[in-house]
């Protein structure tokens, strides 16, 4: 996951205070289920992103506990109510303990 840049986009891009905006996120990850076997019949160990979290200026907005039923390269879209301008922090954690994060700055037009 090291050279992996998660992507996030808000729409509308220039919201007003009080608007509910949509946040679309996408991250590259194999999301290995732990149910598949390699060609030697050995079970491929599970490695999925099990946790996703979104906070705005430290306040929780949305989070997800993910299981192997979520597709590879997880796409998650959720909403947020804009109360002020600030930073929306997004964090993903996988079974190997690797953490990915990105920040979207929300400017109020």
């Amino acid at each position: 996951m090291s050279n992996n840049k998660p992507r996030a986009k808000i729409s509308p891009a220039n919201p007003k205070v009080g608007d509910v905006i949509e946040v679309k996120t996408l991250v590259s990850h194999v999301m290995e289920t732990g149910l598949r076997k390699d060609k030697n019949g050995q079970v491929i160990p599970r490695n999925i992103i099990h946790s996703f979290k979104a906070t705005f200026e430290g306040e929780p907005v949305f989070s997800g506990d993910l299981y192997p039923g979520i597709s590879a390269n997880p796409y998650i879209a959720f909403h947020m109510k804009v109360t002020k301008p600030g930073a929306l922090e997004l964090t993903w954690v996988d079974d190997a303990g690797e953490t990915l994060s990105t920040t979207v700055s929300v400017t109020v037009g």
């Binding site: 509910v20 929780p60 949305f62 997800g64 299981y67 039923g69 597709s71 959720f78």
Partner: protein, 158 residues
């Protein structure tokens, strides 16, 4: 039973062969359900979320393709009607599968800052099945939505 009735007409050798074949057939039948992957129990998972609480069946809208051609990536969208105010909001939405090896697909947690209890993503589905979304409200109530989806080529496992 039948074999016992005809025992007198069979010599010992025939009986042994016959009994062996019957045992082999019996073993074969037994091995079919034993070798198939046993899915974790959907009912048990559902119960672990809802407990003994009463559930309503309105207000949860699940949007899925009618036919999912590729079970590896099936788009979903769940929307729950809610004011999303400080005292009345959707705490979580649990997304469950009735036909995957593991019933839990995801649990999404909301706050009043979410603005609306609406989430989209992509999931894996092993076969044609019913998808169940359980919304957990801040007042302790539960709302359940269900939607069938046809899967042409299953995802998951291998």
């Amino acid at each position: 039973m039948v074999m016992q009735l005809h025992l007198e007409t069979l010599d010992r050798r025939q009986f042994v062969v016959g009994a062996g074949a019957a045992a082999a057939i019996f073993a074969l039948f037994r091995s079919i359900p034993a070798s198939a992957e046993k899915p974790q129990d959907f009912d048990a998972t559902f119960k672990s979320i809802v407990g003994d609480a009463e559930t309503g069946d309105s207000g949860v809208e699940i949007t899925l393709p009618e036919i999912a051609e590729n079970g590896n990536t099936v788009p979903f969208s769940i929307a729950v009607e809610s004011a999303m105010s400080k005292d009345d909001y959707v705490k979580a939405v649990h997304l469950l599968s009735t036909g995957n090896p593991q019933p839990m697909i995801a649990t999404f947690h909301f706050t009043p800052l979410s603005g609306t209890a609406d989430v989209s993503g992509r999931m894996r589905l092993a076969k044609t099945q019913e998808i169940v979304a359980v919304a957990e409200l801040s007042n302790g109530k539960f709302l359940v939505g269900k939607q069938m989806v046809k899967v042409t080529i299953g995802g998951c496992g291998g």
